[in-house]
């Protein structure tokens, strides 16, 4: 596909997709919890903006609703909740010790290449002008998983979890211009409940190990 043949909105969508990918990498590289939450909020806002733009470019008004939900949930509510909890637990200056941060970033780029290859056959079928974005959304899901794996703090794990959700939502927008409304509402409801339960969990974890360092949760193992 030649980028030059796309309209300006579609080019903007592609550029936004690249920026979203960048925020995923930024999440991987950040070590301060507060910075992680802020980056996540930006990612949510970018996803919402992209959704709205796709809605505009493809004239599907229901995407505006999804964009609004995303904005409210991913860019405002969840970051606000995490921010409150960080305040509450006095983690403002907390840093994550990143092990092998360079390797993780390189692994991240490898994942991008991998998802590109996985998404290639799908993209070839897509008539949509924004089809290259599918690979980016898959990469975002995988990068979120990578973040979940490499992080030890509960807050960053939650952000990783939510970043995966962002990627999934983005995939739906990019590949099929959103899911049926009822499914999107259901998924948004699940995210909302998950966010609240995560909040509850922070208190439980803090009560049980006196810290939010999930790495210290290692009582259960196969070999006792």
């Amino acid at each position: 596909m030649d980028l030059a043949r796309l309209s300006l909105q579609e080019q903007a969508i592609v550029a936004l997709a690249a920026l979203i990918l960048f925020t995923s990498f930024a999440l991987l590289a950040q070590s301060r919890l507060l910075a992680i939450v802020k980056t996540f909020a930006w990612q949510g806002a970018l996803v919402a903006l992209t959704t709205a733009l796709v809605g505009y470019a493809t004239r599907s008004p229901h995407l505006y609703v999804s964009a609004l939900i995303t904005l409210a949930l991913k860019a405002l509510f969840v970051p606000w909740l995490l921010y409150r909890l960080i305040h509450r637990f006095k983690l403002l200056r907390e840093q994550e010790t990143l092990v092998h941060s360079g390797t993780v970033l390189l692994l991240g780029t490898a994942l991008v290449i991998f998802s590109y290859h996985v998404a290639l056959p799908i993209e070839q079928l897509a008539q949509s002008s924004t089809r290259p974005v599918i690979a980016v959304s898959l990469a975002q899901v995988l990068l979120g998983m990578l973040m979940l794996i490499t992080r030890g703090k509960a807050v960053s794990q939650v952000v990783g979890f939510m970043a995966i959700e962002n990627g999934l939502f983005f995939a739906a927008v990019a590949a099929t211009h959103g899911m049926p409304m009822i499914v999107e509402l259901g998924a948004a409801f699940d995210v909302l409940v998950a966010a609240v339960i995560f909040g509850v969990f922070f208190f439980h974890i803090r009560d049980s190990i006196d810290s939010l360092d999930v790495d210290q949760l290692h009582r259960l193992s196969e070999t006792e």
Binding site: P121, I122, M145, L148, I164, A171, M179, V193, A194, F201
Partner: protein, 494 residues
């Protein structure tokens, strides 16, 4: 349709009501009655489906055919008996101060919420709603796993939440891909996720996209089924949560996840068979591989367990692996066997967990080494555990033997060489279970070990049903299974 709405409405109303009054002493009776109501509604639904064919379908958001209605009824049945068991069990826990009335409210509301999610997953026609319901089931149970608020239980719940959340995310990606494939075939995008519509157009769906979608769906729902290597959350969640939770997790949640997997397999098979070029049984091969791996790994892990609930949760992984394998093999015989096995495994495993709950209350621990002389202390519990274990290990004349025999002969028919690892795995698992079981039920009880108030008749009911299914499957039931087999495998067995 009315029966269907009733099936969903009762748990919904009960969940909301119990969220307010769940802490009262009589709430557990309300819980059980609500489950009974749900059971009656689902039986009504089952009867109407058997008489009049599938409910819903095509344009509707709901679709209940022979396959899902039998699981709906099973879910309601196990939910009801577990609710009956949970009454005195949780009262005992409350008396020992392990839970507060406040948490009992959470417990009851979550229990009904979980049942609602299960029934919704099995009655919806929309693959997206199916996903939402599966995620909802995780959300409903995650706070139950950490109900006791011990560091271990919090850890298990966190693990459960994160692993299942990530896993189920993959399933959503797969669902998006299915929708994507459907969007190219169907004119109306609103229909693009309805299973009955997709199934009718399965041959036109793009095979590459569907194959890719299946890989993601297998990883996603496979996490919930507990397939190795995605099983890590399962033993932890089962062992740390309250016992009724373990019973429904093992008996129901795993089934429903497998149900979701089989549903999408049917679509993928249709797409691949029509396309040619690709291995038409790709989905089946993948399921066989993961199923066999889970089966063998879990049967080995059974030997190393020291916690009685972990022991039986590995047994669950083993049996889920076996069923996944059987659905992967396909064909009427294997499918019939797998459906039967789903039923008997649910009944037996929930009965075992109920017994295990009593056993660990008697011994005041879940450590296998410290549970001794159950028959001496409380014969009903001891014998219940002994018989239940024998049943799950596949002794004749119980239903598990019948279904495993069917599965073995189906394997012998189409993949003779794979019969060998199956047999080995069964023997290894049998040895592992009996090895742990023997000192627990026989032997002399430690000083001061006393019987607890136990309600064993749900166990007796389940085991009797399994025995009945082993001796002779009643005509209406075999007809029912056969209808489901026809749906899944294309042609019936009988």
């Amino acid at each position: 349709m009315a029966a269907l709405f009733l099936t969903l409405l009762i748990p919904l109303v009960a969940a909301i009501a119990l969220a307010f009054v769940g802490g009262r002493p009589w709430a557990r009776h309300l819980n059980a009655y609500a489950c009974l109501g749900g059971l009656l509604a689902s039986l009504w639904l089952a009867w109407s489906v058997l008489e009049g064919g599938p409910v819903g379908g095509d344009g509707s958001e709901f679709y209940v055919d022979a396959f899902s209605v039998y699981l709906l009824a099973l879910t309601a049945l196990v939910g009801w008996t577990t609710a009956i068991f949970s009454g005195p069990y949780m009262a005992n826990e409350e008396a020992h101060g392990r839970v507060t009335p406040h948490r009992m409210r959470l417990y009851h509301a979550s229990f009904q919420g979980f049942l609602l999610a299960m029934q919704l997953a099995q009655s919806t026609n929309n693959l997206g709603i199916l996903w939402v319901a599966m995620e909802g089931a995780t959300l409903a149970t995650v706070l139950l796993v950490s109900l006791y608020r011990t560091p271990q239980s919090v850890e298990a719940a966190w693990k459960y939440f994160i692993l299942c959340g990530v896993g189920i995310a993959q399933a959503l990606f797969g669902t998006v891909l299915v929708y994507f494939a459907a969007a190219k075939v169907l004119p109306d995008p609103e229909l693009g996720l309805l299973w009955s519509v997709l199934n009718r157009h399965a041959a036109q769906l793009d095979p590459v996209t569907m194959a890719l979608a299946f890989v993601f769906l297998l990883v996603g729902y496979g996490t919930k089924v507990g397939l190795v290597p995605l099983h890590n959350w399962l033993p932890d969640a089962h062992s740390e949560g309250p016992t009724p939770m373990s019973a429904v997790l093992s008996g129901l949640l795993l089934n429903v996840a497998l149900y979701a997997l089989v549903r999408v397999k049917m679509l993928v098979d249709g797409a691949l068979a029509a396309a040619g070029g690709h291995p038409p049984q790709l989905a089946g091969y993948l399921m066989m591989g993961f199923g066999l791996l889970s089966f063998l790994v879990a049967s080995l892990y059974i030997h190393r367990q020291r916690d009685i609930k972990r022991l039986f949760s590995y047994s669950s992984i083993e049996h889920m692996g076996l069923m996944t394998f059987a659905f992967g093999v396909g064909g009427p015989l294997a499918t019939f066997g797998a459906l039967l096995h789903m039923t008997v495994h649910s009944l037996t495993k929930s009965a075992i967990f109920i017994t295990v709950g009593h056993a660990s209350q008697i011994a005041r621990t879940q450590a296998i080494e410290q549970i001794r002389g159950l028959i001496q202390t409380q014969p009903a519990v001891g014998w219940g555990l002994a018989i239940g274990t024998a049943v799950i290990a596949g002794f004749p004349p119980f239903g598990v033997f019948t279904s495993e025999f069917l599965l073995l002969s189906a394997t012998m028919q189409s993949w003779p060489w794979l019969t060998l690892p199956l047999l080995v795995g069964m023997v290894v698992a049998l040895a592992g279970l009996l090895r742990h079981l023997q000192p627990m039920v026989y032997g002399s009880a430690p000083e001061g070990q006393r019987a607890v108030s136990a309600n064993m008749w749900p166990v007796a009911l389940h085991l009797a049903l399994v025995l009945w299914l082993g001796l002779a499957i009643p005509g209406f039931l075999s007809h029912w299974f056969d209808q489901a087999t026809q749906l899944i495998a294309g042609k019936g067995l009988l």
